[in-house]
Assembly symmetry: C2
Homo-oligomer: 199 residues x 2
DNA sequence: TCCATAATGTAGTGAGCGCTACAAATGTGG
DNA sequence: CCACATTTGTAGCGCTCACTACATTATGGA
């Protein structure tokens, strides 16, 4: 069996470039012309590798999540729920204002509302956001079992709360909020956790 | 001087319909065909009245803000900063899940990131969001002067915090979070204010 | 009544979109 | 070296986009 001509570009490197375009312009605002240019390939190569614009987005989202996985591991490894919240919020303030990336969060700016032809894109983003919320909830369930959170605390509500603040920080970062502003938000947010914690 | 043929449609009613389309599909996801259909007019009437798609969005945003103005008046008329926060958060949870409107907030889903041809749309939305934050900040400045907030409280940081939570709730609402979920977020968020309040 | 003015409905315009047909190029297995 | 499989670059497909030319219709003023 012959194997065919080998791919001449690095798919992961190309995905990183595509990710940034989706991040900066949103799914609908990103054009195939822009994407192929930054990826350094031509449209047929893009479609052969990823199937469609939406397929490319999914691949970029998966890579985005994969890159964040180890970061999240370190977050939830904090000893207390309060520590998890603090690391998560401060870390988010920093990453969402990291000049190496577009401001904000791809999972928020990628597209909250799309046209009829891209109706499932918002769901895709929401599914990836839910992953983070689930990780946090599970961590807080554990924290409650360990007596780290009060008996009256609701792990699901706390995880949802953190998710909301993180998404909100993404919105603010996308419109120019600087790192200091987001850290202030993080600092206030953490205080809601102190009421839920023992010690 | 002759006055010309009078307009055959109600501009405000048409704006309400357009607002909903932008709300549900975002600026770029909304098409002129969709807009003219729900507005009950033809493209020339739209362009005669609003100049362009972006002009229509601006008019819709202004109407959106005008509709919220009296609502906001009632919010900031609460006697204490904590009361303001509580009314704001619970009220937001309810309005963002009001079945009479698309879920979430037009100022968030309208478009956080757009293509190169619509680059100033995100700024327009951000400017309108900033109005709310400014109202809250001014209210909290007053609350601090009245001794309602602690001496150590930062009114700007608290307003930013509320702004972030509200935006975050919009993100969650847009992806299907129900009223109960948003009220839980609101309840947790309010607790961050208890630390800042006297009494 | 007749003109000036402005909105309306019909029917498109050029431009840009996502996507692809096709042939040349580049690799592997026999 | 040859046949096969797959990618690549060129060029352009059909379609939808935001937007508009134009003739018509409806008003107010002289």
């Amino acid at each position: 069996m012959a194997m065919g001509r080998p791919r001449a570009f690095d798919a992961d490197a190309a995905l990183d470039q595509a990710m940034e375009v989706f991040w900066r312009h949103g799914y609908e605002g990103a054009t195939i012309a822009q994407l192929t240019e930054v990826m350094g390939i031509n449209p047929p190569s893009l479609y052969a590798a990823f199937g469609s614009k939406e397929g490319l987005l999914k691949a970029a989202l998966d890579r985005y999540s994969a890159k964040r996985a180890c970061w999240m591991e370190e977050i939830v490894s904090a000893p207390t729920a309060r520590g998890v919240a603090e690391r998560m919020l401060i870390g988010t303030a920093d990453t969402q204002t990291d000049p190496a990336n577009p401001p904000g969060c791809l999972l928020v700016q990628g597209g909250l509302a799309c046209g009829t032809g891209s109706a499932n894109v918002p769901f895709e983003l929401a599914a990836h956001r839910a992953q983070t919320e689930n990780q946090l909830r599970e961590r807080f369930v554990r924290a409650k079992a360990e007596g780290d959170l009060k008996e009256t605390a609701d792990p699901a509500a706390l995880a949802r709360y953190l998710s909301a603040v993180i998404a909100g920080m993404g919105v603010m970062a996308s419109s120019g909020a600087d790192r200091e502003a987001l850290r202030q938000v993080a600092a206030v947010s953490v205080k809601a956790f102190e009421e839920q914690s023992n010690s």
